[in-house]
Amino acid sequence: MTTGDPILSIRNLHVRFRSNDGMVEAVRGVDLDVGAGEFVAIVGESGSGKSQSVMAAMGLLASNGEATGSIRYRGAELLGLKAAALNAYRGRKLAMIFQEPMTSLDPLFKIGAQIAAPLRKHQGLSRKAARARALELLELVRMPRPEARLSSYPHELSGGQRQRVMIAMALANDPDILIADEPTTALDVTIEAEILALIAELRQRLGMAVILITHDLGLVRQHAERVYVMRQGEVVESGTKRQIISAPAHPYTRMLLAAEPEGRKAPPPDDAPILLSARDLRVSYDLSRGFLRRETALLHAVDGVDLTLRRGQTIGIVGESGSGKSTLGKAVLKLVPSAGTIRFEDRALAPLDRAAMRPLRSSLQVVFQDPFGSLSPRLTVGEIVSEGLLVHAPHLTRAERDLRAAQALAEVSLEPALRNRYPHEFSGGQRQRIAIARAMILHPKLVVLDEPTSALDRTVQKSIVALLKDMQARHALSYLFISHDLGVVRAMADWVMVMKDGCVVESGPTEAIFEAPQADYTRRLIAASIKA
């Protein structure tokens, strides 16, 4: 597909980082070419070095990193250039957008000023001309109401809109190559589809090349022309999209392609006892400000939700960010104050205070999304896993607790000898296993799984899903599985509730929802997440 000479060519690139444990080689001898106007995707899991390869080209490596090899843009060597010399290329010829649109914009400046500032500096435009150009760019990225947005602050924009602003800024100097580093990972699936369609359309219109860095082969399937698959700092396979998708040569590529979670969950028998039921559950946040609270403004995060969970059942709760699905999970566990009735087995939970809830906590457990934030960094893994025993089995001696922690770790397929180590020494998937062990050590009846697989790579995701299903079968657990990822929900849940703005828009057996969605919103979600 490459037309003529490549405009960016990377040869034998090595990137090394100095760390406490000596040199770590993140990229080992990568060769990569991008032709003019080409759409290239670099695919790999976290730690594969896919971002660091382009960061090296942009001179954006962390201060303890160094790159060797050759990176040429239209014949000019970029590697080893001083920042000032590199600025002739980066931002002008090579533009980049990042994963996190929340933190890439300065919260103190208006959108218009942020787009205009580099225009005035680099192109010497007048204030008025820069503003006109900023407006033009916002129109180019199809920002709704671009005129009004020029004088908005970043916090007034949604994540998708912020990513559009970032793209507009990247396009300001008519770059030859747009590098998009996981541009949609932080966004909802429907927004993700819009942003990628926008990038693809802009590429057509402006004739620039695009390098898309992603962990998601689904995105590659839709847009890319050529694909590089990276693993542990090396390119294991490259070729046209058709080659990679339909005839992958390398086993790793085949594994990535097959990483979609598999299997379906059979519903529990109809006579299974009801474990948890909630009626008209509401959670509201008081948004009113000020000392005297004269005005009241309530945000209904969960707005009258009914829920019935039987023993052995998994209810999948899906929805985009802000739909109230996580808040619902916390409300069921009484981690946030709520109104309405919640019954667990035969007890009403609503009137119970913190102390009265404590004996029930061992039956109601939770696993959170962020495997990096949900483990206390200063405790050993053994202490973390056995902490619940301090509360619910205070008669155990230290040695007995240690033994139970070792058993719990073995049950989630972690080496029990690792229990004296600290969380930061584990990978994301291993940390999520630790979080699961912490919940399971108390032998709960209900586990709320709040996006337990969202922060993980696809292949790791698959193994965690398998582990969770295995635990469920062994201990007759009921799950409340909260996720925005419909593929995982389909594999995990036998019942699905679709939430939007705090309300349930549709609920029913999983296959019924996926095969014949009734609500528009459900249809949109399914369309956006099935990337065929």
Partner: protein
Amino acid sequence: MSDSPLTPLPMIGRSLWQDARNRLMRNRAAVASLIVLGLMALSCIAGPWLTGHPYDRVYPDYVRVPASLESYPKADAIPAAVQRIAARIRATPGDVAVVGESLRLTLTSPRPIDQRLLVYFDRSDQFGTPRITANEEEGRRLALEVPLKRQRFLFGTDANGRDLLTRTLIAGRVSLAIGLLATGVALIIGVLYGAAAGYLGGRIDMLMMRVVDVLYALPFIFFVILLVVFFGRNFILMFLAVGAIEWLDMARIVRGQTLSLKRQEYVLAAEALGVTTGGIIWRHIIPNTLGPVIVYVTLLVPKVILLESFLSFLGLGVQEPMTSWGALISDGARAIQGAWWMLAFPAASLVTTLFALNFLGDGLRDALDPRDR
């Protein structure tokens, strides 16, 4: 970051504390500071027993003698000293000669010399008990051998003739003790109060922090003067007064940390496990606030030492004959024209300690918070 293959790993993990210690040990300035602080503390603790001078012993003959590596009395000062003592004995000295560690001289007088008056030699700080080697002319001429009392004043002496080295070391004891103890008081109150306020939140937080604001509004010096008026000047009072003020900053720092920590999922997970409030604060909140707290502590110790110096300078601090670096510097500043050593040595000790503490604090900040570098 692949999940499945578990490589064999050592049994014992490397905690974040150990990581921080390794980083600290690679910081040369911080390690040097640690060594300096250790030596300073050791010499302040053990030194006063080794200098050979009690800290409150007054040497009337050695008022404001300059710092010197040689021992006193110095050879050129001996004739004058002998002259002075001989005048009291009402005799004329002659043939004064230093032989080894003793002095030989003759005393002559028109009348017989009262031998009891020879005790003046003994009373001086420079000489020992004289021995009469010859008694001629019916007691009008005495040949004496007087041992010399060798004294060393490495830092010189102060305006009362007390050894400045011993006093500087004793002052270091007081200053370091106040620095550490007052900081300890501030640390314990501040961390517990701040963590409780931050974690409990809501109205309790507001109430607790308003109390802090009210205490902030009290003028410190006024507060100390009040305490001194009510309880008299007292060593313990210094800790309490300084600690009672300094915990306010600590409480604010810890509260701020706690507010961000309590939104962490591991705190929520602990709540879901049913861990008590006390358990969460103790096991999850406080250990994770300690990074910034330790850094603040190393900066608080010099602050407290300076505060004590300031109070002593004003005359509100420790009482004579006890002393502190602040009090010594205050004396030294008054004597700067005639006796530079009275200012230089205490000031150098204080500055060295403060430098070391600040470097250490800086090193700790880098070690504990590598992201911010």
